[in-house]
Subunit: 452 residues, 2 copies
């Protein structure tokens, strides 16, 4: 089946072109023309940019957005938030997982993301028993991807311990834990869950050095092969201190010394790293999975970006807790966090004359695609995963082409997102997912049930 | 003329009530009922919250949003951004000012603000000469307020010097400067500009300690009387260092020692203050005018909020450069900036059990109203300046009333804003200002002319 999208302008690998015509066969891009008129059956777009990979999501946490901003009796931290999150988790079943993930995924598409890296650890029933279908929860996530059209890189999480040195898991972690053998079976079942889902990728996710022993990490690394391997690392200072106590090394330092960290790895957060760790991580070719909005919400701290960006180290962005789902806000505040602490401007732009917005977008796209085993870019051979910006938004009035991404990221924000195509199928128009009303109604009913 | 707005719920001074009916006469609230049904002619609203005062705006800077994010040849800073802003300013005339300000003001209403504190310094013609009508630029700003319905506190700026110790103004500051006598005339003319504009307030704004001598500051303080007096202070470290060189004191310290700083004062930014300055500022009863998005964009630094909030010191938020106009983003990232650097959560909430969103909203509203000489709150005697949230937004699914503002600020964001009323007149529906299309077309034509 052949079709085409005609855009007033499109961002290709080498820059913006006008009057672009993206020709598709079965949702894959087979030609990109420019300087041409639209043909009668073409779909129409404003300014077409590539869809962005979202490197890190816990879809179910969308359901607690806005519910963890109340001050506790002590000093609030990531850890008190985690307790509240665990309490909510107790009530989730596969049906609720589907309803919540579909909502989050629809919002991701509306917010500029076209692929999610779902870091999925909620495998077991509330009492810790395996579901009859061991990948029942992964099935729900895959179904949410089907319902919304979002591309999925599923990252089933291995979780065995509550702390460094193979401490036994806590009671409230019973839904996450498995043995290495059980995990291998679960991984196979997850592969089944993705059957028939276009462009799906299956990876492996040791939760963190807190939750996985060195021997287990070795087994998981073998299982992953060259597939995406994601791990939480150095999100919280307490975690860094405990790692040093345990091993004499910091988490990123330990990983780089003891694991085959390379281009298929994504180190999620990597917030608390030294200059030496930053340089080694960049040299490894792995991707840093930065989650600016969630890291701010949780009070994690700021990733030391300038040296890492300049190395250049690879990085992507993730919406993580999904407290707010907005690609442009992630990029804007990744940059702004740096500006606020360094007290200078245009940190992500690496050379004179470069647009900060263009640098942020390109780096996040390239790094994100690498981390998720997906594609990024409007180019022949890629699926047509594209976002159309409303060229008539006031923020774009007489804006030079080179500054369009700056105007989108720093000024217009997600309000400028008009249409979104996933594998050539338009799933968002006028900023709204085509199935939004039904997905939102199911989501609302589910939250009502869970909080009753 | 009597009318009423019926809301599914409304946020009053003591908290949320259901089925609220806000009764209006000539746009002023004469009664607030709750637990009552709608009457046939009532306008309908979802969850009604008070409109927010925007304590600090330079409306014309909306036109350079997204145009200053390109890396320069040296290290980019506030000061290199200011040079670019000055170059743009050269081309502005009253007609362009009207077109740009109307766009910014429409976006403020869409973004949750119902009153602007316009810190207006672009008084003169490009060659520095007075316009024949000396308040020609203020007339344009007042007209933009009329065109959009936004309430205005006009703060005509006095600007005389380019640096501490009464240094002569730079050539590119010719459009800002006046003598004290000229300023008094200008101030009177600005009063005329506001004639017939409902709820308008006129204040006085010595630009900064860089731009105003102590004697001039004294004259301006006398002129202001009890009207709002706004001044830029301690936005940049360089400014603090130069103030210390000049006077032996830091800017806020100097002001508190040498000027009658009190409840009608708004110290805009106050970013770089010591613990002693913070305590004294809080004790003065003045308002700190915090501009989180702009301060991030310009790399100013972070206001040290915890001690000031706890004192408690008064504060409001401003969209300042208008690079992005979004009340909830200002509040969200005011809190998030603190979390990122302190590495803890729920900073603005001052006691156990308090919602951070509710604390942010209430404090910003009370402080903002004080700073602008306006009102805040859905209460008898106030103009009906209200914002309606879409209760059907997924972020609000089964959310307890006490967490509605958390869900709006941290999760839904400005996408949750549905209707906005100013002085009882609905000016925004479905998130769009009623005159948006015409205002955006005029704005686009103006930007095209200015950048041709």
């Amino acid at each position: 089946m052949s079709s085409a999208i005609h855009a007033a302008a499109a961002l290709l690998a080498h820059g913006w072109v006008d009057n672009a015509r993206v020709v598709l066969v079965n949702g894959m891009i087979t030609a990109v023309e420019h300087g041409v008129a639209a043909q009668p059956d073409d779909e129409r777009a404003g300014w077409l940019i590539p869809g962005m990979p979202n490197v890190h999501s816990h879809a179910f946490q969308r359901a607690i957005a806005g519910r963890g901003e109340v001050r506790g009796s002590g000093e609030d931290s990531f850890w008190s938030w985690r307790q509240a999150m665990y309490r909510f988790v107790e009530r989730l079943d596969p049906e609720a997982m589907l309803a919540i993930a579909a909502m989050a995924y629809a919002e991701m598409l509306e917010g500029g993301f076209t692929r999610v890296g779902e870091f999925h650890y909620l495998h077991n029933a509330p009492d810790g028993a395996r579901y009859c279908a061991p990948a029942a929860m992964a099935d729900a996530l895959a179904q949410a991807a089907r319902d919304t059209g979002l591309a999925m890189t599923l990252l089933p999480v291995f979780y065995a311990h509550s702390g460094f040195g193979a401490q036994p898991p806590l009671a409230e972690q019973a839904r996450f834990v498995s043995s290495v053998d059980d995990y291998a079976m679960l991984h196979t079942a997850c592969s089944g869950a993705l059957a028939g889902l276009a462009d799906a990728v299956l990876g492996v996710a040791p939760h963190s050095l807190r939750a996985v022993s060195p021997a287990q990490l070795g087994a998981l690394t073998d299982l992953a092969g060259s597939a995406p391997l994601h791990v939480h690392v150095a999100e919280q200072l307490r975690e860094v201190e405990q790692c040093v106590e345990w091993s004499g090394q910091r988490p990123v330092e330990w990983l780089l010394d003891h694991a085959p960290v390379g281009p298929n790895w994504c180190l999620v957060h990597a917030t608390h790293i030294t200059a030496a760790e930053s340089a080694s991580l960049a040299a490894s070719g792995a991707v840093a999975g930065l989650c600016p909005v969630t890291e701010a919400n949780l009070g994690d701290g700021l990733f030391p970006a300038p040296d890492y960006f300049a190395a250049p180290g690879k990085w992507g962005v993730g919406s993580d807790s999904n407290v707010r789902i907005d690609l442009f806000e992630e990029l804007r505040w990744l940059e702004y966090g740096q500006r606020l602490t360094l007290r200078r401007r245009n940190v992500a732009a690496l050379c004179a004359g470069q647009s900060t917005g263009a640098a942020l977008f390109e780096q996040a796209g390239q790094g994100g695609a690498q981390a998720l085993g997906g594609a990024f870019g409007i180019a022949v051979g890629n699926p047509a995963d594209c976002v159309s910006l409303d060229a008539g938004h006031p923020a774009f009035a007489a804006i030079p082409a080179a500054l369009r991404l700056d105007a989108a990221i720093f000024s217009a924000g997600r309000e400028a997102i008009d249409g979104v195509w996933r594998r050539g199928r338009k799933v968002v128009s006028a900023g709204r997912h085509h199935a939004r009303d039904a997905i939102a109604a199911r989501y609302a009913a589910t939250i009502a049930r869970l909080t009753a």
